[in-house]
Symmetry: C2
Subunit: 307 residues, 2 copies
Amino acid sequence: MRFEVTTLGTGAALPARGRFPSAQLLNVHDQLYLIDCGEGTQERLRMAGVNMNRIGQILISHLHGDHYLGLMGLISSMHLNGRENVLHVHARAELKEVIDLQLRVSRTYLRFPLEFHPLPSQSGELIIDDPKVRVTALELTHRIPTTGFLFTEVSQLRRIKPEAVDRIPHFARTRVKEGEDLVTADGGVIANSELTNDPPPSRRYAYCCDTAYKPDLVPHLMGVDLLYHEATFTELLAARAKETMHSTARQAALIAKQANVGTLLLGHFSSRYKSEEELLIEARQEFPNVLAAEEGKTFFIHQQIMV
Amino acid sequence: MRFEVTTLGTGAALPARGRFPSAQLLNVHDQLYLIDCGEGTQERLRMAGVNMNRIGQILISHLHGDHYLGLMGLISSMHLNGRENVLHVHARAELKEVIDLQLRVSRTYLRFPLEFHPLPSQSGELIIDDPKVRVTALELTHRIPTTGFLFTEVSQLRRIKPEAVDRIPHFARTRVKEGEDLVTADGGVIANSELTNDPPPSRRYAYCCDTAYKPDLVPHLMGVDLLYHEATFTELLAARAKETMHSTARQAALIAKQANVGTLLLGHFSSRYKSEEELLIEARQEFPNVLAAEEGKTFFIHQQIMV
């Protein structure tokens, strides 16, 4: 069962050095979620070989252009590509005005339903409740209202113990996997715990971009498998980070350390950095498991199966 | 004196096959005009090595996304790149709403003045009256109000005949080049026509995109040096061209032939065409001087100096 993130754009507001504005594709059990949609995202999706019409939901963190200016072009291309399935867009309410105005001036009547969902502002509020994943909001601190996203895989079925397979009639297996005890042909009851092991733990991915250093996110991020946290600057520019309400690589790593996450993924790099190396080095002084996002690169969150 | 067009995007609404949405850079005597600004135009400008802050005027033909969705990103990057000089934007009045709304939701306060000029709708109306170039509107026929642009180089100074150089005192040369007769030291008068030749003819460039076949453009296009005319389809899809209010390559060539233009430049190719070859072949059956626009390619209009 897939749970993977492809980083399509890893730059900050000014695109440069082969970095593009923010966009990520999250694949959870083959359901596709697009997180942010900077200018040129449709081109990045094409380069990554993604069929854009398979994207079911788009989440926009905030309304700075480098996080949403690719949305109208993507919607238009979905329309021209014959999309019919509903597209859910989650963003601050003002984005609906922006979409509606632009559809109106171009006299575009979409062939598919676009359902707009205004984002809540408080951390922990539920945004998406899909069969395979739940998404909750993370209230970030930036110059305009900004929301991060926590994706939690919905618990899977319990796993039948290899030694118990022969004791469970075929017709009863689904219910046993769902946690029911087994009633045998002679009326006896076998406790579910004798027959099954716990399902693999739900995988979790958090997206925190853009935000100033915000330690009160930590309780929401405890133990997530992968944390994407912006690292626009190094500590040398901590004052600039504070002024523009961005984070340094060290601050991202402090959040990762305090929340004891599995892996920290850095991104949203200022165009002043030729390479991510200095940001990685700074972060690793606080937290060992750090990777740098890269255009078109996929990061896999593997299932930990316990037997 | 430069008069050249760089085609930055030559595709139709659906970007594909290495073609990008409409955008062109016109350089007239080192003044830069951007014509249309599809998504990703700032990236194309960067690839072409153009300093975006040197662009003084942007003209948007119409409000279909593939002609303007790159504008907000470009404006934002100009802002972040420290632009201070005024930017003139010429487009249908509704675009001002689109710009203002997006500046508002992102809480962006531009560091440079953006002057918006609503486009007139009638062919022949003056849009820009710069020292080196005049731009007039061309009313096109498309699904929404659409304007083409005719760029005419402002007449240059008359050229002093080589054999007359020694007869004109240095201080009088500018006035003679401007067409005045020469009053000699002894009070005599030498007619300007004895001293000078006509200046090189004003060069002209016309941009007609998007439009259905529209023969009543011809009187406005008579003898232009370079005509960019959209050729979204071949004649095989003439019905589709008519329905979507686009042109075929043959129709573009018919306009070029009737207007007796110097060179016809085709563009706005539907993504269904793998190569421009079939569009070129079709157009050349009607008109010989046809070229295909190409991402990043520059087309020079040379000065014809007559002596």
